[in-house]
Symmetry: C2
């Protein structure tokens, strides 16, 4: 009965579905289907109180203050912690009256789906200038899966050119590995802007479910009221608070991810594939044989991420360990060998 029924591997990260699709694949299955950092932030000690007690206001406020500093938002009052950004999408879509939701494509399917469920007419455009008449304008920056970056000035001009009562939502899920200075987090008071930041992707802790909306105080207050006082659990608050103030881990991790992404490009290009974009957390390949390649890799126990609307695309996350790199390289070599034989 789940919404994933129609497309078993349409979201990344579902190894259960992958195992049903490729029942003979060697184990362990190597999951390259997400953009989640495979080198996670070390989970701190979690005292039992975090599980047993209701989260206290002071701990949530402290997390918001640390997130404001980490992301460059004006203050804790501008930050809304949530159990992941996904759950914020309908709340953001509900901040404006149902009308025209215009999205800069290609865009993550959940944005289209949620806006439509909120009563918006959804349009996808390829030019930022065409966001101008939106009631709700949505941009993912850097974009998933192609890594396109919209300059900060362009987005600001877009926000400031929107009609009164409209809103620009910028999903910065992958901005932790974006270019310095590209985030709109510091500009949220300069227009009707909501910035979404994901915690789990860059920190490699997607199971913790933590994300943030950054917005002007009045907007933040509305989102906070919708989520209620205990949206984020004690363990997530503690983990987020520790991780977001650990700047040296973040710096070292950005460098490590950039190196891994460069290595992944070498591996993919070495296998004869065109890398057309991405971020340090995932790389996007375009090949006319994407569907065949997805199945070939799957049978070899390597799960990439296909896109139902873009049949020539395949996205690869970063292998977690040396054996995973070797399994990927061997699987790609196997594809080429069978192509030569075929």
């Amino acid at each position: 009965m789940s919404r994933l029924d129609a497309a078993p591997v349409e979201h990344g990260g579902d190894l259960g579905a992958a195992r049903r699709l490729f029942p003979g694949a060697p184990e362990p299955f190597i999951d390259l289907s997400t953009g989640i950092n495979p080198y996670p932030y070390p989970i701190p000690q979690l005292p039992p109180d975090l599980f047993t007690r209701l989260p206290e206001r002071a701990s949530i406020d402290a997390l918001a203050a640390i997130a404001a500093e980490a992301y460059g938002a004006p203050s804790a009052a501008h930050v809304v912690p949530a159990p992941g950004t996904q759950i914020l999408l309908p709340l953001v879509a509900g901040l404006v009256r149902p009308g025209r939701a215009v999205m800069l494509g290609p865009i993550y399917a959940e944005h289209r789906l949620v806006a439509a469920c909120s009563g918006h007419r959804v349009e996808e455009v390829s030019d930022v200038a065409r966001l101008r008449n939106a009631d709700l304008a949505v941009v993912v920056n850097p974009n998933n899966p192609d890594g396109r970056i919209v300059p900060r000035d362009t987005l600001l001009a877009c926000a400031q050119g929107l009609p009164a009562g409209s809103l620009l939502a910028v999903d910065e899920a992958f901005m932790d590995v974006g270019p310095p200075g590209a985030s709109l987090a510091g500009d949220i008071e300069r227009g009707s802007i909501v910035v979404l930041r994901s915690f789990g992707k860059f920190y490699g802790l997607a199971g913790v479910r933590l994300g943030f909306a950054l917005a002007a105080r009045e907007i933040a207050e509305r989102l906070r009221a919708s989520l209620g006082p205990w949206a984020v659990g004690g363990p997530a608050i503690a983990i987020g608070t520790a991780a977001l103030q650990d700047r040296s881990w973040a710096e070292a991790t950005r460098a490590r991810l950039a190196q891994a992404a460069a290595r992944l490009d070498r591996v993919l290009v070495g296998a004869g594939l065109d890398v057309i974009g991405g971020t340090s957390l995932f790389r996007l390949v375009r090949t006319p044989t994407a569907t065949d390649l997805f199945h070939h890799l799957g049978r070899a126990g390597v799960l990439a991420r296909p896109f139902s609307g873009e049949g020539t695309w395949l996205r690869f996350g970063l292998p977690a360990s040396e054996p995973h790199w070797q399994r990927l390289e061997a699987a790609l070599a196997g594809v080429n060998a069978s192509a030569r034989q075929g």
Copy 2:
């Protein structure tokens, strides 16, 4: 900037606010301000994968199936896991067009607040029969804080008598300690009914943030779509799955809580207080000196739960340990001593 600003201890469980209110109180502060079981379910081993990976559909479906069995809902498809029931309230209020939200009072303040924020005109009534013309009818059963129970047949008749397009929401946050057979969980297909079940209260794990909506398939599907595919994190799924199938722990805990509640009544009555209701997880006292008593106990490091709208009420949760019982008894004796002197 938080919504708790106006009333520092209006929600239970905020020891930070209590310490600011009673700066000289002896430590450790004893928190009797919630209805959370002080004997928590033992947290199982949590493998790192639960934190690092996105929760998989199969694990969420398994949790829903176990919750359906534990609560008596028809099937997993009727169960919507969520990060706490609080976050479900606006989604449930949004299932019907803004209209008349009629609530059986006295009612937990969050229900009134959320319905009003969703655009409903909120009325509180004292007679179930007056829920009849509601667009959204809300009943907490057993009720917090007075423990009133509305019989299942009465609620079913109410649901079946509502106008087309209306909805009955039954918040069964404390039904784990309610009378057998009182839950509407098995009846959710017999009317337009949503039942809310809280995990953290009975299992003593409020920091985990886990709750469930039980409803007919179409309603469950709408709520599931609003929450998105990863609303509940990996650790919460694992803890909930282990706890909800542990029937012997639940049975033993129900007995233990009933004994503790009876002991709490003896302590409160022994201190000259009238206990007017409650459940095994909390007891409600009515006394003309409730405000004085709250402050007196607070200065002794014992936090009870006052009600801003009901100045003669004070709610007490269960002490967690023998030293906590002794601190409560000593604090109550101190009140009586100073009253005799005063």
